[in-house]
Amino acid sequence: MSAPGNVSTVTTRDELPAGTAGSPRDEEAKPVSGLRETLYFAVRNKKLVFGLTVTLSMLALAILGPLIARHPPLEYGGHLSLAPTTQDGYWLGTTLLGQDVFSQFVTGLRMAFIVGALGGGIAAIVGMVVGFTAGYRGGIVDELLNMVTNVVLVIPTFALLLVIAAYLQVRGIMTEAIFIGLTSWPWAARAVRAQTFSLTSRDFVSLARLSGSNSRQIIFKEIAPNMSSYLFMMFILLFGGAILIAATLDFIGLGPSNTISLGMMMQLSVQNAALQLHLWWWFLPPGLAIMAIVGSLYVMNVGLDEVFNPRLRSM
């Protein structure tokens, strides 16, 4: 079957199929959601720009803040319940017990980003592994993984955390992040599984199987890249979700025992009657910061959806 056929050459001109709305006729080959085209829409999308700006500003503060803070966050300084002032670098004042609120605030920001990245990252990875495997293999593997997903979904996380807290005297931010990661992956797994199902039925997967690709190659090279925008957005949601869960856990006292975080600041401030004593600088900054980060992440996500999905774009 190697001899070429002797046929009249069908000349196909360098022209696109008729009616291909929106395709340029230039020589350069561009991907469907061309990077240039994506960036064009990205910089024009207000939600994305707004969300990104807020998040990145917070991130900058989280990275640089602890470097410029004058006092360690947990140190009991002399001044108690000091209102925000430029004196001595107590820009956000002090707590009832004399700790530097600014220092706590920026440390808390750092912790928030760490737990978000780590917790969200773990959830994303576990979710993807379970989702891809269940979606690609189907059958009995899918049924089993579904059962596992459902079990993890209904585990009462607070009860579990209380038990863990009772056993571990010292809990760090890592423990909290791992716990969050291992309990919040089910919905990610479900989402990935659904997308994988629909992509697996496409002919290019069959063709890859006919070309000698194995399952791992197909998942990583054919299926996952097709979902890249979806996976990216999913990670952002998990990131924001992890920060929220961490703040909630910290607020009820189940947070890390060896450091300070935004949720813990709020917990301590409420415990020490900051509301009644009008120490607004103690609980307002952490609360607003959590709201700002998580809110801007979600807004960013909506913006990203519009950018990635050509049908949602406004002309």
Partner: protein, 302 residues
Amino acid sequence: MSETSALVELDRCTKVYRVGSFGSKRLTAVRDVAFDLRAGEVVSLIGESGSGKSTIGRMILRLSPITSGAIRFKGEDISGLRGASLKEYHRHAQGVFQDPFSSYNPIYKADRVFKLVRDAYFPSVGSGEWTRKVAGVLDAVSLDPSQVLHRYPHQLSGGQLQRLLVARALLLDIDFLVADEIISMLDASTRIDVLNLLGELKEQGLGILFITHDLSLGNYISDRTVILRRGEIVEMGATQKVFGDPRHAYTRMLLASVPQLRHKWEEHGNGRAAEAGAIVDGEGSVLVEVERDHLVRTEGAS
């Protein structure tokens, strides 16, 4: 006729799907299908939706496991192949599918389909030799390399994409090709060119299983025809005999329903009768040879 042994032989193939939770219900998509195909021959597998024709194509390519029966390729049963031996089988048997735009991963360039083949089957071939090989197969399908290489699928037409898939199959020096409705999504003016390409490949010795719902196309290109209905063969044999002298009521109904260019449909109400399932083959129906190279299922045949 039987001097050349069969290239592909289906022996009482059956495919049963398990549906419902934990596979409690069963759906028989293909039942006891048996036919063979020789080198240099085009066999048309004709059926409407739900006839099981695509399932048979997938089973032969081992994309779907077979529930019972055997499929033999050059005498060897391939229904249990795995791993390296399956990969070797695909050196000889390949497929092209219906939707050209679904067959290509949209985020990669179209010629990546060649790269996949190269990585899996020709890892040690040098780039110069590979370029020559690619140019050779592109010439065999009448494509100009400068028009189709380094382009994304959405920049090429349906006809070009389908030809590219045939070229990919030719890279492997195959003996057998499954063409599953490969031209139904192409425009009328390009269909015939792709069909003619299959004809040329057939003349060079390739065995082709041409799966379609369009009887005119089947009649144009194939040597033998198999008519499928709800997973069973109702009539099969030499194309001219099946189309020229259809014995089964279902075949006759299909032929009468095909819109033709110079003859109007004969009677009205014909289509509705068919949809009502008026043609029924009983449980014990078998294929009977009515003449040489022409088999018909009893009960329903006249």
